[in-house]
């Protein structure tokens, strides 16, 4: 049971909502509406994993981590409440600063490597994807994403100098490995840039990839290894290495087991006279070996009662039992009538 519990816990961690990240933010929106006819700020999240992530019961807040950590410490010293419960309480106290993504909306199941946009218009009656708070123009904004357990998933500090019609976006969509490299999602300014839509590279892309996804490997091999020779060398190297390692290991295993085999062989000599005699002969004369085996077989009286006489018939076929299906089939003994 413990093992099952551990495995279940690990699975839950593995499928983690920690792969959700804040991908792009616009504070002063003057060029797109939010489906209600309003031009409001928006926050784009990205599911960086390769599995569907349910984001219900996650929290989006403008409270800075220091405030939340202090709140947690303060409240945890007074009660045994879990962090998600504390966050819910914080949301109830400050609905204009904390938004909990509601349960029950199928659209909160975010498919792998896709985006979802939340409108910071303070109008929660408009639907699941409308936040309970707004972002303030002309000053620094902070947005954080907390998971269902109340742990920080991602955060961003939006600079105060962000102009109307500009967005603050990740330079490229984060990869889960990059994000989890240090076990946290601390905001790193160098991974973000201001976009104004003036060019393809500076496009504002709510709900879309910040950078057009391309298979970098294919592009690289196309441009730098047009003849394929480097890929061939590398790949053959890997194939050889893998099989060479297997060869070395099983060579060693073979030697290790050969000693045991010899001891066993001595014991088996008594039990299996047929093999032993054949082995001692050591010759290549198949017919002689077959004759010795048959003689021993009959001598040991392992023969069942049969009405006919079994005879040897010299085969002229150039096939062995390995190569010829016919030789593998049981043959009906020939009956020789002597009268």
């Amino acid at each position: 049971m413990t093992l099952i519990a551990v495995v279940a816990a690990l699975s839950a961690m593995a499928q983690g909502r920690m792969d959700m990240c804040i991908n792009e933010v616009m504070v002063q929106n003057n060029n797109s509406d939010n489906q209600n006819g309003k031009c409001s700020a928006w926050i784009e999240l990205f599911n960086a994993s390769y599995g569907t992530n349910g984001i219900e019961k996650m929290f989006i807040t403008t409270f800075k981590p220091d405030y939340i950590q202090n709140y947690f410490k303060d409240m945890e010293s007074k009660s045994n409440k879990k962090r998600n419960v504390l966050l819910e309480e914080l949301r109830n106290q400050n609905p204009d600063k904390v938004y909990e993504i509601p349960r029950g909306d199928v659209n909160t199941k975010i498919k792998p490597r896709t985006h979802v946009v939340f409108y910071a218009d303070g109008d929660t009656t408009a639907g699941t994807f409308h936040l309970s708070f707004t972002l303030a123009a002309g000053c620094e904004n902070y947005v954080a994403l907390y998971d269902v357990n109340g742990d920080l998933v991602d955060e961003v500090i939006i600079p105060a100098n962000l102009q109307a019609g500009q967005s603050f976006a990740r330079i490229s969509e984060g990869l889960p490995t990059d994000m989890h490299m240090n076990g946290n999602h601390n905001f790193v300014t160098s991974q973000w840039e201001v976009r104004d839509g003036s060019s393809v590279a500076k496009a504002i892309t709510p709900g879309k990839f910040n950078v057009r996804p391309v298979n970098e490997n294919i592009e690289m091999f196309k441009n730098e290894d047009g003849s394929g020779i480097w890929l061939t060398i590398m790949s053959m190297g890997v194939v050889f290495c893998a099989l060479l390692m297997l060869y070395i290991l099983f060579k060693l295993f073979g030697k290790a087991f050969a000693g045991q085999g010899k001891e066993k062989k001595e014991e088996e000599t008594v039990d299996e006279p047929v093999e032993a005699v054949a082995a001692q002969e050591g010759g290549d004369d198949d017919e002689a070996i077959a004759a010795i085996c048959m003689a021993l077989y009959q001598h040991l009286n392992a023969h069942d009662e049969e009405s006919g006489v079994l005879t040897f018939d010299h085969s002229h076929e150039a096939h062995s039992a390995w190569g010829s299906k016919g030789n593998l089939l049981l043959r009906v003994p020939e009956h020789h009538n002597n009268h």
Binding site: S227, V238, F240, A242, L246, F250, F257, Q260
Partner: protein, 384 residues
């Protein structure tokens, strides 16, 4: 009025029939011919019948002309054929086939003489040689990789990789791979004779030692860990291959091994072959690219056979006299199990009627299965 309605209904029905729709896509008749040819080759000439009959019949199923929109065709979402095709498209069937292959394969020939693993590795040059030729012919790297895997002479691996790298070419790649696997007895012997001398063909190899059961049990476990640490992208194939082999060798899961190697493999082979055949629709299949793919597949088999045989010859230069390998087992490094090993044996017997090479050739043959799966993993890692 009634007659008019009947005429209208009949006309509607006429438009529904294959006879009418074939006038709109006459090229499907060519594909029906290809399907019939495959069935003929399989039944009359015994060319890989287990594969060519399902594929050939699948081609017939996939190329009967019909009016789209009724959830009939293999590419129409929701149709039964489409559901079966998902196993090919998403790469579910090949690992299941590999499970069966693992449960069927006795690796003792390889374990008895582990250096034969290197022969299996060398023959994979067929894949990468074909990759370079494919690039020179103008294919993109991912397409070239998908086509080149034909050189692994392993149908499930070819389907698995092409479904990931170049799904639009998968039908042609699969048919090409299976066709050349069936033609291995025609393609390989002349190359083997050309590259070996009479003296080399007469080399007698030392009888293999007996492999203990413990070694056989350790092999799939160590094999999985080692190869997949090198090439994690090969996990679906290698994982299932070694898992199937452990079922076989553990001695305590005989029932599972039997099911994996018989019933399950048969079922998956039926569905896989039929789906692949049905996916080869005229619009996708009858293109200049298909001709190029068939040419590249042929090249891949030639290069693989050549590299396997030449590697053994070179390897012999450093081996002591009593441990020399017969270069006729080099061709078996292309996986095509056990056909390629049988060819080694046949050629060996032609040179010396008492020199049986089958067991020796099974070593590189099964190493080729591992090698081609590793190569597929490498290509997927680089180009996926």
């Amino acid at each position: 009025m009634v007659l008019l309605n009947i005429a209208k209904n009949l006309e509607q029905f006429w438009h529904f029939t294959g006879f009418y729709n074939v006038t709109l896509s006459p090229e499907s008749l060519i594909m029906l011919g290809v399907g019939l040819l495959f069935i003929y080759l399989a039944i009359k000439h015994d060319f890989e019948p287990m594969l060519l009959v399902p594929i050939g019949f699948g081609i017939l199923i996939g190329n009967i002309p019909f009016q789209p929109g009724n959830e009939i065709g293999i590419y129409e979402e929701g149709s039964v054929l489409n559901i079966l095709y998902q196993g090919v498209r998403q790469g579910w069937y090949p690992p299941l086939i590999f499970l069966g292959i693992g449960a069927m394969t006795d690796f003792s020939a390889l374990l008895a003489n582990p250096k034969l693993m290197l022969v299996g590795a060398a023959a994979q040059f067929g894949i990468f040689g074909a990759y370079m030729v494919a690039l020179a012919m103008g294919f993109m790297p991912d397409q070239a990789g998908a086509i080149a895997i034909i050189g692994g002479a392993d149908g499930p691996t070819a389907i698995f990789l092409s479904s990931k790298l170049a799904p639009n070419l998968m039908g042609a790649i699969a048919v090409s791979a299976y066709s050349y696997m069936a033609l291995v007895p025609v393609i390989q012997p002349p190359i083997m004779r050309l590259l070996t001398t009479k003296k080399e063909r007469l080399i007698r190899m030392k009888p293999a030692r007996k492999v203990s059961q413990t070694e056989k049990i350790i092999f799939p476990i160590v094999g999985l860990i080692l190869t997949c640490f090198f090439v994690p992208s090969g996990l679906p194939l290698l994982g299932m291959l070694f898992f199937g082999n452990l079922l076989r060798e553990s001695g305590v899961t005989t029932r599972l091994a039997k099911t994996a190697s018989n019933a399950m493999t048969d079922m998956v082979t039926i569905v896989l072959g039929m789906s692949v055949g049905a996916s080869t629709q005229a619009s996708e299949f009858l293109t200049p690219d298909t001709i190029k793919i068939f040419f590249l597949g042929f090249m891949a088999f030639i290069i693989a056979t050549t590299s396997g045989v030449l590697f053994v010859k070179i390897f012999n230069l450093i081996l002591p006299k009593h441990k020399k390998l017969n270069p006729l087992i080099g061709n078996a490094g292309v996986s095509a199990v056990p056909m390629a090993a049988r060819i080694s044996n046949d050629q060996g017997l032609k040179a010396d009627p008492s020199n049986y090479l089958l067991m020796h050739a099974m070593g590189p043959n099964v190493a080729g299965v591992i090698g081609s799966a590793v190569a597929a993993g490498v290509l997927l890692g680089f180009l996926g």
